[in-house]
Amino acid sequence: MAETHSLQDMRQQAAIAAKVFIQRDYTNGTVCQFQTKFPSELETRIDKQQFEETVRMLNNLYAEAEKLGGSSYLEGCLACLTAYTIFLCMETHYEKVLKKIAKFIQEQNDKIYAPRGLLLTDPIERGLRVVEVTIFEDRSLGR
């Protein structure tokens, strides 16, 4: 797990220069979506396309979690009929997608953001309010 190790090292030795918060985008209602607008603080660190692609993927994943469709209705009805005791043994669809999202963010951090001195925080740790991007100082790079 060399990559995680390097992330941890970086965390312990790097200084945090700033934090940028990507806020929620409510134009489609209460569905969980984040703004794809590229923050100016990241201009020197990462490519705009790359960042917007990450946020777009994240939005798609959340949309999948909250999608109303045949499978979610089926799950809901089944749960209701069993007086919701079925969730003692089974994970909800939303929880499954949240795990997928956590993996996706970990991947993105390892491959794209850590080498550039950035760190994405999973929005679920911030109550689905913001995507927190931590910017580390440049002196920790070049190892």
Partner: protein, 475 residues
């Protein structure tokens, strides 16, 4: 390198133990309810007593004379009612966790930038953001307690002291708020309860009628209190329940089919009376989709992670780079610490450490230095454990997390209030923009110790200790 070893021995605490707001947690965080639960117990008692009497006194007759399916159906209905009641009462209705200090600071900056500079004494305009949802303009309000802009349809419940997503109402009968995550349980509870009360009402009446067919109406009534006590009580309770609960179920059925919350309906937010082209932007258009979405849609997870462990403060090596302790401590306190607390903790540290050196008598924390009116026993949720006081301060400190290890010192009154978080209005903040830009670990050097105490003390011994503290503060 010394560490205050007491810290390592304490069991890690769970996040529910430091959750801000007026909630109660049971079963090690699995169950959460509002503070006032008296009416919930009343609900429970009413349901159990009425059903119990029905099963004890009416069912034997009905089972033998009509069909044994009656007690079975009654039992299933009762089981469902109680299941839904417990689910609605004990689960997280959709609380929004409060903003971390960094987020709050960032928002403040944005708001100040938007409002422009204002002189002292000028009251800034209320903080709102406008957003267009499906063609309707919706105002998002800023919550001063939670330090966030509330998502649409969220509201702050004053009884629970938390913002709730898709806030419907606070139900005392259920002993909890009704919000996004438990609205369907609440609805199914009142729906099944209406079926149960109608069921019991109908069969109690049937019982009386059947009996009076045999023995005459008047003699049945005379016999009733003696042989079948509480039949009258059952009838009365069920009669009133039927009207109120069936009425409530009908109202909520209307709300679900139009995808509104009680809160929105009461305020008439989307009614035509406000404006001609006013419509509900959240409605899916047809009744069936609205109902399916509310009742069978995906169940969102709890955002507050009440059973998660607070990551304990692992003593960091004394590094002279700013990053480690700050990052670590900022990480720790996603759910824990308001930054005012951290600032105050650090101040307490300096005062507690400094004042016994400069004065010989033990001093209450908060006594000297910047005044903290009436807050000597401030809720210190960050101090996970209070170690017994150390007689002498080591001159090089381990990285001081906001957990306030040093806070132990001499103050017997400083103890943990788990659920007490003074609101920002109550807490006296240090003046200027400083506190707003400070992350949790206040030892960035902004906290000039000279502001807190006079390091120019006479003794060399004092100087050493003070130097140690100064070094700590500049790390």
């Amino acid at each position: 390198m010394e560490t205050l070893g007491h810290k390592k021995k304490t069991t890690p605490r769970r996040k529910w133990q430091v959750f801000p707001g007026r909630n109660r947690f049971y079963c090690n965080g699995r169950v959460m309810m509002a503070r006032q639960t008296g009416v919930f117990y009343l609900t429970l008692v009413l349901i159990m007593v009425t059903s119990g009497l029905f099963f004890a006194f009416d069912c034997p007759f009905l089972a033998s004379n009509l069909t044994p399916a009656i007690p079975v159906i009654g039992g299933v209905l009762l089981f469902f009612v109680l299941g839904m009641l417990f689910r609605a009462s004990f689960s997280d209705p959709g609380f929004l966790p409060r903003a971390t200090p960094d987020e709050a600071a960032d928002l403040e900056r944005q708001i100040d930038a938007a409002n422009g500079p204002s002189g002292p004494g000028y009251r800034p305009p209320p903080r709102t953001r406008e957003v267009v949802i499906n063609g309707q303009t919706v105002k998002l309000k800023y919550c001063f307690t939670c330090k966030i802009f509330r998502p649409p349809r969220a509201s702050h419940c004053s009884l629970c002291d938390n913002c709730v997503e898709r806030f419907d109402h606070h139900c005392p009968w259920v002993g909890n708020c009704v919000g996004k995550r438990n609205y369907r349980f609440f609805y199914l509870f009142i729906l099944s309860l209406s079926f149960l009360t109608v069921f019991i009402f109908a069969f109690v009446i049937t019982h009386v009628i059947l009996r009076s067919n045999r023995t005459g109406f008047l003699s049945t009534l005379k016999d009733s209190p003696a042989r079948y006590p509480f039949t009258g009580e059952n009838v009365v309770v069920c009669f009133f329940s039927v009207w109120s609960i069936v009425g409530l179920s009908g109202f909520h059925t209307y709300l679900i089919s139009s995808n509104q919350t009680t809160n929105e309906d009461i305020k008439g937010l989307w009614s035509n009376k406000r404006a001609k082209d006013n419509y509900n932007p959240y409605s899916y258009g047809n009744i069936l989709t609205n109902c399916c979405a509310a009742l069978c849609g995906p169940l969102p997870p709890s955002l507050i992670d009440r059973r998660g462990f607070i990551q304990s403060v692992t003593p960091q090596p004394v590094s002279h780079s700013n990053g480690s302790s700050m990052y670590a401590s900022t990480q720790l306190h996603t759910h824990m610490c308001d930054q005012e607390h951290c600032i105050q903790n650090t101040k307490f540290v300096f005062q507690a450490a400094a004042t016994p050196l400069l004065h010989s008598d033990p001093v209450m924390i908060g006594g000297g230095g910047p005044p903290f009116p009436g807050k000597s026993s401030l809720g210190v949720p960050c101090a996970a454990s209070l170690a017994p006081s150390q007689p002498s301060l080591p001159s090089s400190m381990p990285g001081l997390g906001c957990a306030g290890d040093m806070l132990s010192l001499r103050d017997p009154d400083t103890h943990c209030h788990h659920h007490h978080f003074p609101s920002p209005e109550e807490t006296p903040l240090p003046p200027g923009p400083m506190p707003l830009t400070l992350p949790c670990a206040a030892h960035r050097g902004h906290m000039n110790p000279a502001q807190l105490y006079d390091p120019a003390s006479q003794d060399s011994l004092h100087e050493d200790s003070v130097r140690g503290l100064v070094k700590l503060s500049s790390v």
